[in-house]
């Protein structure tokens, strides 16, 4: 997918002024946050499970080569194939090659963020294979020719009025006067439309929430059942997954499952958790004839051993974006690539470079809510800070900000000068704002004061107050 992360500031401005989007974004707060809080409160061991989940993934990452090789062995032993792909281009070509060999006209797709990452749909279309998204949210955005704006609720930015327009345009064989008002109307129409597509599909493509080394199984976690029909009814099943989805055993997957649905939708378990192992057995009455796992690296192996390794623990639950004030305000599209919100602000520069995505780690208030809800305890704010530092070191931050920071570091590393400067500034600003108690404009900070006032300093600097207090304490003792 082509990135527009460079334009984050413009994207965010547009999003803030888009009344329809703002109405749609209200659903983030009312749905996800309350449901998560309720279901987490119902499991006293939740915090300890977070530790256990973190430890499993850390163990996997430290031994990733070993577990990937075991996974491959077991996929092969069960009659499937593993395809190792370094880049999105290699993964696209491999999938197209499978489609071509099967003489595929249509492929059904379960929801996969890695498929978005490699830009699979456009590539298949360009090469004469029609991809059909079957997750309701993905289906809607495919009709709208939009990327997803959320990793588990891809159409969260769309209102039902907009979907009604899309459905009437695309489903032109249906009665134009039919009712399209209640969520039920849309769900039923999409269900009916997609039914035949599953049976007609030559290939079914899904992502994977887990790859299990012990058994060579791929696991998808869904609520709709579309992913299951995709992997059951396609004549070949292709799984696209990134390296870090590996867990050692069924028991390890079970531990992380207790975290995943609670953190994502606030369910105790998602409706369907399905383990696929190889193609149909010779005696089976249904199931695909072929089973392929396309394993994508795309920069992840290079993240190991760096300060961004912890990001590879991510299980794509979306809790971080569901609790992020920035995401809540601007939605997912403003981030400009596949992964939005706090996890995207760390993963995007890791995968496509800080030159392209340097704005994203800056799109944070550092309130820390993302880290506090992350089931895998990923220190997201700390990693965003690392990226800010890298951006500065590479000379990518704006000239004004760099100059400001140089002045700041000169002053802040010279205590006497710092005390003098802060005393002068607070005295001056205090006099200027004495009447109103606040300042409506500040030199060099027009952007900041254009939308809010700065409280006027009330006299002493922090250093002075601290010194006075210490002195008073000393006097008492």
């Amino acid at each position: 997918m082509q990135s527009t992360s460079r334009n984050f500031k413009d994207n965010a401005h547009k999003a803030l002024n888009d009344a329809t989007l703002q109405r749609a974004l209200l659903n983030v707060k009312s749905g996800f946050q309350e449901n998560r809080a309720r279901t987490v409160a119902g499991l006293p061991e939740f915090e300890r499970l977070r530790d256990a989940g973190r430890d499993i993934k850390n163990h996997v990452l430290a031994n990733l080569d070993f577990y990937l090789e075991r996974f491959e062995e077991n996929v092969t032993a069960n009659g499937g194939h593993v395809h190792w792909c370094r880049t999105p281009a290699e993964a696209r070509e491999k999938i197209l090659e499978i489609c071509k060999r099967r003489e595929a006209k249509t492929v059904t797709k379960g929801k996969s963020m890695v498929a978005e990452e490699i830009g699979l749909n456009d590539y298949l279309e360009e090469n004469g294979v029609e991809p059909i998204e079957t997750d309701l949210g993905e289906y809607i955005i495919q009709l709208r020719h939009e990327p997803p704006s959320h990793i588990i609720a891809p159409a969260i930015h769309v209102t039902r009025e907009q979907i009604a327009v899309d459905f009437r345009r695309e489903h032109s064989d249906l009665d134009p006067n039919r009712r399209l008002e209640e969520p039920r109307d849309f769900t039923d129409e999409a269900r009916a439309k997609l039914r035949d597509k599953y049976f007609a599909a030559d290939v079914g493509i899904t992502g994977a929430n887990f790859l299990i080394a012990e058994t060579g199984s791929t696991v998808i976690v869904t609520n709709e059942g579309n992913g299951d029909m995709t992997q059951l009814l396609g004549k070949a099943h292709v799984v696209i997954a990134s390296l870090e989805k590996i867990v050692p055993t069924l028991e390890d997957a079970s531990t992380i499952l207790r975290l995943l649905a609670r953190s994502a939708t606030g369910q105790e378990m998602s409706v369907y958790t399905s383990f696929s192992t190889g193609p149909r057995r010779s005696e089976d009455r249904d199931g695909p004839e072929e089973f392929h796992v396309v394993l994508l690296d795309n920069g992840r192996s290079a993240m190991l051993g760096t300060e961004f390794q912890d990001m590879l623990r991510c299980i794509r639950c979306a809790a971080c974006m569901n609790h992020c004030p920035v995401y809540e305000a601007v939605g997912g599209h403003a981030y400009g690539w596949v992964y939005p919100g706090p996890m995207g602000s760390v993963l995007t520069p890791s995968l496509i470079g800080v030159e392209e995505a340097g704005h994203l780690p800056n799109a944070s208030t550092f309130c820390g809510r993302c880290e506090s809800v992350c089931p895998m305890r990923i220190p997201l704010p700390k990693m965003m800070r690392h990226y800010r530092q890298r951006e500065f070191e590479k000379g990518l931050s704006p000239q004004k900000a760099r100059a400001g920071l140089s002045v700041w570091s000169y002053v802040a590393t010279r205590p006497k000068l710092y005390r003098l400067a802060t005393r002068l500034a607070s005295g001056l600003l205090g006099r200027l704002g004495k009447v109103k108690g606040r300042l409506t404009t500040l030199p060099l900070a027009g952007g900041w004061t254009s939308v809010r006032d700065m409280p006027a300093p009330e006299g002493k600097t922090f250093h002075d107050l601290y010194r006075d207090r210490q002195a008073a304490k000393g006097g008492r003792e």
């Binding site: 499970l49 070993f66 809607i140 199984s217 609520n223």
Partner: protein, 233 residues
């Protein structure tokens, strides 16, 4: 160099080591061969069969299943008939071949019974399950020639026949039974000594979606109704 070698090489370079050998590899192999349990929530601890049954039924209902209890397998056909009638559903169904010998449909002549997998045209399926997890009201179903996966997804209504003795506490207990039941001849059970079926489905309630403005709708692509008939045994 192949992509495989490149990726494994890149991982090892980042981790600052060569491929694992000797004791380090042996320890990891052992971890896979003897899968240990991680932290298990207390929710199901100390419950006997009756206690687990109560918890399973409560959880299944909480997640939008309906549950009927019957005394024996003989009572299942009548319970199915009564359910279809109560829900105003057509009096026909497709049953999993695994149930064909156990259920005597001659008692319910008004029902039209087909045996096999689903081609998408049936309204209702009736299937057995492998186990049920009381912790979260979850059913575990495994694919086989007698239990095709299509029955779990394609019909609008899925009726699952569950025996009380199949209910376990946490998910890990269901895996333990699964490993034991599928152990390859001549091996003790765990690790790579059991066979995986093509598909294992963990199912918790009927199909649902929240993709239209986050409002939950049942029956997105899979069954709209999931009905459990719980058989005392």
């Amino acid at each position: 160099m192949s992509a495989r070698d490149d990726i494994l090489g890149s991982i090892r370079k980042s981790l600052g080591r060569e491929a694992l050998t000797g004791d380090a590899a042996a320890q990891l192999r052992q971890r896979l061969a003897q899968p240990a349990r991680n932290l298990i929530p207390d929710r199901t601890a100390g419950r006997d069969t009756a206690g687990l049954t109560t918890l399973f039924v409560d959880k299944a209902r909480e997640f939008a299943c309906t549950v009927d209890e019957v005394d024996s397998l003989d009572a299942v056909p009548e319970a199915v008939r009564a359910y279809l009638s109560r829900e105003n559903l057509p009096a026909r169904l497709v049953q999993a071949p695994a149930l064909a010998d156990g259920l005597d449909w001659s008692q319910t002549p008004t029902l039209e019974i087909k045996t096999g997998t689903s081609d998408g045209s049936e309204d209702t399926s009736v299937t057995p399950v492998f186990a049920a997890v009381a912790e979260t009201g979850t059913l575990m179903l495994t694919s086989d020639v007698t239990t095709p996966t299509g029955l779990n997804f394609l019909p609008e209504n899925h009726i699952a026949v569950l025996r009380r003795s199949q209910i376990v506490g946490p998910l890990e207990d269901a895996w333990a039974r699964f490993r034991a039941a599928r152990a390859k001849a001549g091996t003790a059970g765990p690790g790579d000594s059991f066979t995986m079926p093509r598909t294992v489905n963990l199912i918790t309630g009927p199909s649902r979606t929240g993709d239209i403005e986050q409002k939950i709708q049942m029956g997105a692509h899979g069954p709209r109704r999931l009905h459990v008939i719980l058989v005392a045994d």
